[in-house]
């Protein structure tokens, strides 16, 4: 396939640092879109603020770069007005679970027909390495120079508990898995979340002595555990591991269907 067909070439090369995995995720998204044969004009990519949210600037779809954390709110409106658009939301860990935390869980609860791809790099990269809700305990950040005291969010479990229809987690090293999960999420009629672990060598790796992008991707390769195997492992064995796999895959009524029922009912009563 030709990636350049989907890119705004005049905007390249992108701003992401050397060793950053965001470009790998963008490539996965483009590969899946190419495989599904979607037209460029039928896709809308929505994002908030952050490194990950720069993604829509580089792709030649309908794109919307919104305020911090509000990508899902904007996308919900877009979906209700234009239900035939394929809407892809790209969001970082801080964008989706801190500033946009409420939008995220409520969109999952409503089961709006959206796909959210969360680039989880454990840190706010763009604004200077502040601790995000997914920074593990004890890891250093610019707002936690002696180690982060807060327990991290598990985004996939959060989405699962909030009622999302499809939840999966992968890493940038496992490109085949990432492609498969993104494809399943795109085809799902309901709120689907794909969380992808990506390295941030500049703001996270350097401060925590985890090396460059290659070292961090190598860490993902060695420390990823499939969800079936993880269920047989004890709590201590899972310490520091990344659990990958499909957490939820279920069929349920989505928001658009229920909203249409409300409209029909209101019309009947008011006639």
């Amino acid at each position: 396939m030709d990636y350049l067909y989907y890119l705004r070439e005049e905007k390249m090369p992108h701003i992401w640092c050397d060793g950053c995995g965001h470009g790998i995720i963008l490539k996965s998204i483009l590969r899946v879109i190419d495989k599904l044969g979607w037209e460029k004009d039928d896709i809308a990519m929505v994002s908030g603020i952050g490194c990950s949210s720069r993604t829509p600037g580089y792709v030649d779809f309908n794109t919307l770069h919104t305020t911090h954390g509000r990508a899902i709110a904007f996308a919900t409106g877009l979906k209700i007005v234009k239900p035939n658009l394929h809407i892809i939301i790209v969001s970082g860990d801080g964008d989706a679970t801190a500033i946009g935390g409420n939008h995220f869980i409520h969109a999952a609860r409503r089961n709006t027909d959206l796909t959210v791809i969360i680039y989880n790099n454990y840190i706010y990269g763009m604004t200077g390495g502040q601790a995000s809700p997914t920074t593990p305990i004890g890891k250093k950040a610019s707002t936690a120079p002696y180690g982060n005291p807060d327990a991290p969010f598990d985004i996939s479990r959060l989405a699962q508990a909030a009622g999302a229809a499809y939840v999966a987690r992968s890493t940038v090293y496992h490109v085949g898995k990432t492609d498969r999960y993104i494809e399943q999420a795109f085809l799902k009629r309901g709120f689907s979340v794909v969380e992808i672990m990506t390295p941030c060598p500049t703001s996270y790796g350097r401060r925590n002595k985890e090396g460059n992008g290659v070292d961090m991707i190598m860490f993902q390769k060695k420390n990823s555990v499939g969800i079936e195997r993880a269920q047989k492992m004890s709590e201590e064995e899972l310490q520091g591991k990344i659990i990958t796999g499909v957490f939820v895959d279920k069929e349920q009524n989505n928001y658009l269907q229920r909203y249409k029922e409300v409209i029909d009912k209101a019309k009947q009563i008011n006639q």
Partner: protein, 72 residues
């Protein structure tokens, strides 16, 4: 003679992150002064892992049969 896949590196977009050098299963690349060098192109099996893992859209791998047909 063994057919060789065609690998191109766009040096304008490459940021020298060395992911291709370390993750190629056949060690096709060596790191040069600034950019990766295709040191052993005859070992390439066209798995395209480097192309998929390159975050900068800099690497393109054309498998041997397609490369041949383009030449003709």
């Amino acid at each position: 003679m063994k057919k060789i896949s065609k690998i191109t590196i766009n040096e304008k977009w490459c940021k020298s992150c060395e992911i291709c050098v370390y993750f190629c299963p056949k060690s096709v690349y060596d790191m040069g002064r600034f950019y990766p060098v295709i040191a052993r192109p005859e070992d390439c099996i066209a798995c395209k892992l480097c192309e998929k893992l390159c975050p900068d859209f800099a690497i393109t791998v054309t498998p041997p049969d397609i490369a041949e047909s383009i030449k003709k």
